[in-house]
Amino acid sequence: MDSEVNFDYLKYLSDSTDKKEILNELMTAYGKDVWNYAYSITRKWDQADDITQEVFIKVYRNLYTFRSESSVKTWLLAITRNMTLDYRKSAFLRKVTLVDAFSAREEQAAASSAEREVLERMTLNEVWDLVLKLPVKYREVLILFAHHQLSMKEIANVLGVSEGTVKSRLFHARGKISRLKESLDHGTDRP
């Protein structure tokens, strides 16, 4: 992929490298991927914003640790996942809230939260609706495969499981989506 070729230089960063410029390029190339993944796990717009912010802050601090053991995208998504897991612990929430306490974000958030609530109810299509209803372990593997288009090996690296487990979860996710679709078609609410 072109975006992967462009970031090959990440392997050769030195102290003189302009990290902010690199981070800008990373945000341009992968900001949407990081946010979409964060949202797909949390299903909350504001939480996805917070997590995306912390992911890129962490990336900025750790640019030199990219070892090209994976693609840049896989690296970023793995960081996003770990950040999301941290976010679920109350300590992370407290940290982010305190750090932003003196920013103008709260004022902006109050004004736009109503708008976001509306947007959150307006997912793009029926399949996204169904996927976002799945338990998280099936949801994320499906989204990494179908939306982020990672290979089995890359998904395994992001999730820290074996490729066999990835395939198994995809299989079960497929079954659950089918049953969800049926239940909605028939007017029931069975998961």
Partner: protein, 434 residues
Amino acid sequence: MEPIDPKWKQQLTNGPFDQDGFTDALRQRIEARLENIVPAASIPLWKRPWTAAASGLAVTLGLVVLVLGGQQLFPSADLPVQQQQEQAPQTAVQTATDYESTVRSALLVGLRADKPSGEAAGEASEYRTLLVAPVAKRLQVAAEGSGILMPYKMDFWRLAEEQSSTPEGGSIARWKAMLANASRSQSPLSLKIAPPKAGASSRSEKLLFVGNRYVAMEQRIIALDDKGGQEDSRYVWVKDVPQLASSAMMEVAPLQQPHVKLEDIFGSSIEPALRQITPVLPQAPEQSKVKAVKAASVDTSGESWTVARQPGRWVAQVASYENDAPAGEPDYQLKELPLALPAEVVSHDKLTPDWVEIKRMQPAAVDAYSSPNLDVVLVVTERHLILYPFQGTLIPSPLLTVELHANESVIMAHWAVDPYVELWKKNVPVLLAQ
């Protein structure tokens, strides 16, 4: 069978909303945060909201340890030099537990133990690799094995010594690199190189530095002529993993063997730096005494060099083969290159906190490495590897102490941060056990 219905896959290609979640406003917010980021060490600990509770608890418990422990926690700068023994490694107390659970780094350490010099061709070194990682929120040696296991690109590679004999009655022991997954560790713990027969030579190599692509080594060639005279020559080279993985013959002259030149790393910008040092090229053992050859052999490319350790950092040193050295001493003199090594050779070569602070806390320190996560620092003494927590300042309460073998030194130190910590914890023990 497709993992999911292709129609569903197509519908999931775009994001969940018409409007992008990664908005310009979010991007600007991130950029504004970057403007406010300062190095962690310069932020007073009390200013960090999320450490307020932890530091309060730590101070309380620290006072308890101070009263009950009966040992000096903070080394005094006034101690006479002979009394500045290594601050006794302490077992982790409740103080450390608070920091231990926040450690999100893993460390792969390569060690070399040298046998005392003076042995003839039988001199050998032993190598081992340790993985230090948080396991169940406790920092531990999660894996240990003989030999060197190094991360390279997407995999782990094993460095192993391969020995072969020559028809003339000599022997060659060279370091080879192979994909760890595909290989089992077969090399003996310590290769003893047999003395050569008359008219033959023995070659051996000793690892000096293992990076994430480049490996520095000292090569020793002992040649025995027909009259029983012995020529002992030593060289330093840097090779990359592909060169170590190749089957290039070792019988060629030292300069003809595949190796990495400084010119390959720095390009033409190496020339001015080399002109300041004026190194002399190495010659093959039989040519080393020919003065006429020496006069013409100025090294303008940086053929022979190594990566050496100074407290807190790796530096490039160029070898110059100028003078006749006493028996048993290397033929070369090492001169520091006045250029910093790029990240492709030594990734993450920053020490936080600085060396002065580390020495103040641990007077017996001879070296130190810090994690890119700024959460833990490895301090090396003559006898131990000691890991201390770091949260804006170095916490003098070790999380883990590992005893070094006699004459053992660090030749490799690679940090892993998320998401590689779990990957390393999963893969390295299996590979080191092979």
